[in-house]
């Protein structure tokens, strides 16, 4: 039963990073200079994100609900120790959603206000992605101390340091990379397509660089990633595969196989998340007082049953609806009238 819930958390996280991540990435891309393509790029992003961003954002809420219902200790420990990064994340989420919607639905489309929305949307996308990475990195550092009440140790130390920052940058690069790959297939305009491909190339390089930075920065941690990876060869294989897939990715890009490019890029992200999970499994958190595992911190069985039931029944409604949503707006040959 706990296995099912962990799978649901994993699947939601993956979908949030892939779908929500490309939305965040689109905001980050809009921060970059685009010259005369600026307006056309904005239109493409509005159309690509508009119908789906709210649904894409729901995966995060799903994770929160599963955690607080199924794993209350993990949830409360997180919310206490990472209060500040969570707060930063929330501010970003609020500003970003509002700016994106306001930009599209402002009845008077004038240059100045549109510019303000775009800048807010871009900055908050960047900000939120960065904090998401910082939070992810803070889970397993062994610094969170549930009993600490001294301001620095309790509420700053868990997320402070070069390693969380490096992971934050890594997430930013991954999101921008995903968005570039994804946006290539969202436009028919040759010069925009070219721009997104060029961006994908740049961010591909940056992802590799930031990934390296994460490894280097992790040497300042209690246990560095290289030594942790060496202990677990499977993990090394997973990360190596994710990197090697770049070759396949650019092969498909050259062949103009949009769908396959997207699938390979998603596969890379899935592998990175898998590698991350395997590294610490089955622990959700590693605190200064020991690990908190999904298997020891779960709610009573009666609750878990209800949660699994709700998720399974919910999936029966949600997955077909999501599929329909994407069919109507995304897949080639979607219903047209």
């Amino acid at each position: 039963m706990i296995d099912i819930l962990v799978c649901f958390i994993g699947a939601s996280l993956l979908l949030y990073v892939l779908l929500g991540g490309s939305d965040f990435g689109a905001g980050i891309i809009e921060l970059l200079p685009a010259g005369r393509l600026r307006e056309a790029q904005k239109e493409v992003i509005n159309h690509a994100m508009g119908p789906v961003w709210e649904a894409n954002h729901m995966w995060l809420i799903l994770i929160v609900v599963i955690l607080f219902m199924g794993f209350p200790t993990i949830f409360t420990t997180l919310m206490i120790a990472l209060h500040l990064p969570m707060l930063a994340l929330l501010v970003g989420i609020v500003v970003r959603g509002a700016a994106f919607t306001f930009r599209h639905y402002d009845a008077v489309q004038e240059k100045r206000s549109q510019r303000i929305y775009t800048v807010l949307f871009g900055l908050s996308s960047l900000w939120t992605s960065l904090w998401l990475g910082i939070i992810a990195a803070s889970l397993n550092r062994g610094i969170i101390d549930p009993a600490a009440r001294e301001v620095w140790t309790a509420w700053f130390a868990p997320w402070w340091g070069v390693y969380p920052l490096a992971v934050g940058l890594f997430v930013v690069c991954i999101y921008a990379f995903l968005a570039s790959i994804y946006l290539v297939g969202e436009t028919e305009q040759p010069d925009l397509k070219k721009r997104f491909l060029r961006l994908a190339g740049w961010f591909n390089g940056l992802v590799v660089l930031a990934g390296g930075l994460v490894f280097v920065a992790s040497t300042t941690e209690r246990e560095s990633l290289p030594s942790a990876f060496l202990k677990n060869p499977l993990n090394l294989a997973v990360i190596a595969l994710a990197t090697l897939l770049f070759v396949a990715l650019w092969f498909f890009v050259a062949k103009r196989r949009t769908m396959l490019t997207r699938i390979v890029a998603s596969g890379q992200v899935a592998l990175i998340l898998l590698g991350w999970y395997v590294l610490y499994a089955p622990n959700a958190l590693i605190t200064a007082r020991g690990p908190l595992s999904f298997y020891t911190e779960a709610a009573p069985p009666a609750t878990l049953w209800q949660l699994v039931l709700a998720l399974l029944i919910g999936s029966l409604f949600i997955f077909p609806s999501i599929f329909y949503l994407f069919r109507v707006f995304k897949l080639p040959g979607g219903a047209k009238h």
Binding site: I61, F68, I318
Partner: protein, 432 residues
């Protein structure tokens, strides 16, 4: 401001902000669907214009509701970890169902907003209706969680630990039916009347008369009907509170001394020091009648409770009076509305009454939440866990509060500004 007060202020402020957008999200899609339906049936372009106008409102307000709702799901843990530790496994179930409904709502709204020329017209219309249905259902579920805080069920409390957890029993707690009925009607009432009031105002100013009159009629059918039904729902809620939370009822009524043939005090300010009511109009026996259907029934007063278990009497009583006064006025307005509909014409003075009622429903929703939330104090789980024991140990909560006040005030100003721009374009498009 100490950390507990700041945490409570943050929660109150976030919830008070979100509840307006939640109510709009539960009601406006229905108004939009009715207009859309009439357009598809009658092919009258005015209804199409109205549908698109309301759709833009729904899009903007839904986004604000969605992000402020996300904030709340985090804040349960950020502010009240001591509550979620116990409550998560017991009362997470309605949240999981609410999440499902809200997820479907987010999908439906994407389909409706962007699907105008991508789906057959009636499939498209259905997605719009589904936005309303899923929003309404998620509202019903989330009230179940609040109901449980008022009437905890579905577990045994053994030495400060919850055992034998039964999430189904917790979800179907005894406060859920009456709270949900009251809240859902309040959403329909407040938003229906607010939208009706705005269009009445534009109509009175001579802007786009045809469109505004049609809008007024659609919004007010829902708003006025809900206004008429609400006093009955409120009465059912009052009876349940009398049974489940006598201290809350006593605070609402400013009823200090347990007595038979208890008087209902209209207006008035409770003085906690002297335990008396000042300047109120007393109607003998009526409180006993309303609470227990018997003029001579005993109504428990605050004297049955130790002082530290009293809710803040003054706030609860004043909020309650505000809510009841508005509810009564709006019910009267609702009756008048249907009377004028039968006569076939609205006199101008009545349209001004409708305009005046536009903000009142929202005020009543806020007042009602003050009654139920402040009235539950000092408990976060009624009778079991005190709010002060559930608050986060994180210091400096006053900054957290300040941050959200500034953020939400900016958001509110921006939203109002955007809506005004929407209406101004309507004026240009549909003329005087």
């Amino acid at each position: 401001m100490d950390d507990l007060v700041a945490a409570r202020a943050t929660m109150a402020f976030s919830l008070g902000f979100h509840i307006i957008f939640a109510a709009i999200g539960m009601t406006m899609p229905f108004l939009m669907s009715v207009a859309h339906f009439l357009y598809l049936k009658k092919k009258d372009p005015v209804y199409l214009g109205l549908t698109k106008l309301w759709m833009k409102g729904v899009a903007i307000l839904f986004a604000v509701g969605a992000v402020s709702g996300t904030v709340l799901s985090f804040e349960l843990g950020l502010l009240w970890p001591g509550f979620m530790q116990y409550a998560g496994p017991i009362i997470g179930m309605p949240f999981s169902w609410e999440g499902t409904a809200f997820f479907l709502e987010a999908i439906a709204i994407g389909l409706f907003l962007y699907g105008w020329d991508r789906m057959s017209p009636w499939v498209h219309w259905t997605t719009g209706l589904l936005v309303g249905v899923t929003g309404f259902v998620s509202g019903i579920f989330v009230v179940a969680a609040n109901g449980w805080m008022n009437a905890p069920a579905g577990f045994d409390w053994v030495n400060g630990v919850a055992q034998n957890v039964d999430p189904v029993k917790a979800m179907f707690n005894r406060a859920w039916p009456h709270q949900s009925l009251h809240m859902q009607l309040a959403a329909l009432q407040a938003v229906g009347c607010a939208v009706g009031g705005i269009h009445a105002w534009l109509y009175l100013r001579g802007v786009a008369s045809d469109l505004n009159l049609k809008a007024l009629r659609i919004a007010m059918v829902i708003g006025a009907s809900a206004s008429i039904l609400q006093p009955f729902a409120g009465h059912i809620a009052g009876e349940s509170v009398a049974e489940l939370q006598p201290a809350k009822l006593a605070a609402m009524e400013g009823h200090f001394k347990t007595s038979r043939h208890a008087a209902l005090t209209v207006g008035g300010l409770p003085d906690v020091e002297t335990q008396t009511m000042k300047w109120g109009v007393e109607l003998p026996g009526l409180l006993s009648l309303l609470a227990h259907r018997d003029l001579n029934a005993e109504v428990i007063g605050l004297d049955k409770y130790p002082r530290e278990d009293w809710p803040p009497v003054l706030i609860v009583h004043v909020a309650f009076q505000v809510m009841v006064a508005i509810g009564s006025a709006m019910a009267l307005m609702g009756v008048l509305y249907f009377w004028f509909v039968r006569r076939g014409k609205f006199p101008r003075w009545f349209l001004w009454v409708v305009v005046a009622c536009a903000p009142l429903g929202v005020v009543a929703i806020e007042a009602g939440w003050v009654v139920t939330e402040v009235g539950r104090q000092p408990w976060i789980i009624y009778g079991l866990v005190r709010t002060k024991d559930a608050v986060t140990p994180v210091p400096g909560m006053v900054y957290h509060f300040g941050l959200f006040v500034v953020l939400y005030l900016c958001l509110a100003v921006a939203t109002v500004w955007l809506l005004r721009r929407q209406f101004r374009t309507v004026q240009q498009k549909f003329g005087g």
